[in-house]
Symmetry: C2
Subunit: 332 residues, 2 copies
DNA sequence: TTGAAAGCGCTAACAA
DNA sequence: TTGTTAGCGCTTTCAA
């Protein structure tokens, strides 16, 4: 058996309430008593049982994080932002991968709620009605990080992907391009379908440029698929002269396809993409990118969640973070 | 207030013990009773409180994972391996970043043990005596993943880094090189100091080649630092003709330094490294690498931990996983 | 097959 | 400033 608060109380000749006060930093303890108790704690090697504490206090100082896939650098970076702020506010994180599968997301939500987490941060490609219904049964606050909610009744933290996409494409248009392809991630991801693609099309329309269906390529977000799908563009008689890619894995896949065919970047094709990883800077030519503040997305989500858990009044529950463009060698 | 086991019991006209049996799949319940209880659970939306269950049963079905930095793809990939096996055995994961700081590792260990995790997976650059002492106070099993323990009294899962490094350098020697540099990660990481460097030197010695101090470069493991440290090699009169890099970030940093100076790979320098990320394949020329099975390192660690948590007899507590070399374009 | 009852280790009134 | 006591929601004997 391990040491309990009761053992400490007996050893120190005080009640367990007093030990509890000392452990929880309650000021209503005489310094001498405090010292005596602290000594006993040290001597016995007492370690408070957080499970018992959680049951009695109805707070676990633990939050749940549901992420599609922690092995993806996008989510790994974002999660680090969450974790650092969680540490700052003394919360632990239960981290679970959903692989974006809705049934799994449901299970996880139920599971984490059963574990009595004090709050939840949720990331997914798209919010199903079922998930929203399940979330409604939660009696703890939830924040969506990098995840769209059309109804805006859940708290969210994002960047303005539509505008960012617009900016990227505008940049290519300003560089004189009239045939611009968009190599996208899966359209099952709301941000791709309702933001990036829309921003891309808005920029074209505003410039009076036609939107060609064959210039839109959907990939599964991976380097390999993008490399493969380059052939959809190369076989066109009228090839695009510039490419707006959904992220840097896609961009580098395209880029290698392009260069393996003997074309040059940025001479034959200019490329711009959303930056999620180191790749953008490590490849040559370095990629011009929209820099997404992944770490901050996580950190701000967690900060928002702490406020909600504390019952603080929140001015704006749909936060948009700034982004910037970094011009490098894949554009002129 | 939320629904408790007691509410379900009353609604179903049974005792809470019976509800508990139903929830836990105990066979000693009459099917009719089970159905009645299940109906009530469904109707009331009852969700068992895992904290109360943990207190009563002394099992939390939660494990702790202490990782240097989840935003690093090395650990992100490894953690995914842990997570998948954890899911399979119905464990949750509390994931915490230590930044390799010993005081933080101590805190985290204490914190997670206080949360009554059923087991721990620990990753770090080096095991201090303090940490080992703290680990000894844990009454739950601990597995070290990708982390050395010289005393071998803790369970570990690794690859044979010394032999892998030897293989890599041997390959360069076989290709005719006599001046081979080792661009390493920090020597504060035991695997770098006691495995990779040692394997590098063994290969040189065995081939009767001298070990030149100036051919050993220590970096902080990042692309940027490696790019920067290329100048230490370029300024040498007798430059090396091949480079063995500690990982692909380092290798790509070196590679870009080399190429920005107008040299070619593999013509002027051959490069080989440990593969931790996609980078190895995404850059051109693609890197010849030692492929480290990061996902498996995590998965096997977690599997080992489940066995230990079940009190099963373990044949070998110091597991070595296989690795392989993948020859690509940075060597001939 | 079911129920009664005693904890699990702690917090948080309430009293003193 | 300290102690007493009643839970928190569940599991787990033990009995019936």
């Amino acid at each position: 058996m391990s040491i309990t608060i009761y053992d400490v109380a007996r050893e120190a000749n005080v009640s367990m309430a007093t030990v509890s006060r000392v452990v929880n930093g309650n000021q209503n303890v005489k310094p001498a008593t405090r010292k005596k108790v602290l000594d006993c704690i040290e001597r016995l090697g007492y370690r408070p049982n957080a499970v018992a504490r959680g049951l009695a206090s109805k707070k676990t100082t633990t939050i749940g994080v549901i992420v599609p896939d922690i092995s993806k650098s996008y989510y790994a970076e974002l999660s680090r932002g969450i974790a650092d702020i969680a540490t700052m506010y003394e919360y632990n994180i239960i981290l679970s991968n959903s692989d974006k599968r809705m049934t799994r997301e449901m299970e996880l939500l139920d599971d984490l709620l059963g574990k009595q987490v004090d709050g939840l941060i949720f990331m997914s490609d798209s919010l199903s009605e079922e998930i929203k219904k399940e979330m409604a049964t939660a009696n703890v606050p939830i924040v969506l990080a990098g995840t769209l909610d059309s109804s805006t009744d859940l708290a969210t933290v994002n960047i303005d992907h539509e505008q960012a996409a617009y900016d990227a494409v505008k940049k290519l248009i300003d560089n004189g391009h009239k045939r611009i392809a968009h190599v996208s991630g899966p359209l099952t991801r709301d941000i791709n379908r309702y933001c990036k693609k829309v921003g891309y099309e808005r920029a074209l329309k505003e410039a009076g440029l036609p939107i060609y269906e064959e210039y839109f390529i959907e990939t599964d977000n991976t380097y390999d698929d993008a490399y493969e799908k380059w052939r959809l563009l190369r076989k066109l008689d009228e090839k695009p002269t510039a490419i707006f890619a959904g992220n840097d894995d896609i961009a580098v896949g395209m880029m290698n396809g392009i260069r393996d065919d003997g074309y040059s970047i940025p001479e034959d094709f200019e490329v711009i993409c959303f930056q999620h990883t180191l790749l953008s800077r490590a490849v040559r030519p370095q990629l011009t990118t929209i820099v997404v503040p992944l770490y901050d997305l996580g950190a701000v989500s967690m900060r928002l969640l702490t406020k909600m858990m504390n019952g603080e009044e929140i001015a704006e529950t749909n936060v948009l973070l700034p982004y910037r463009m970094e011009e490098r060698q894949s554009t002129r």
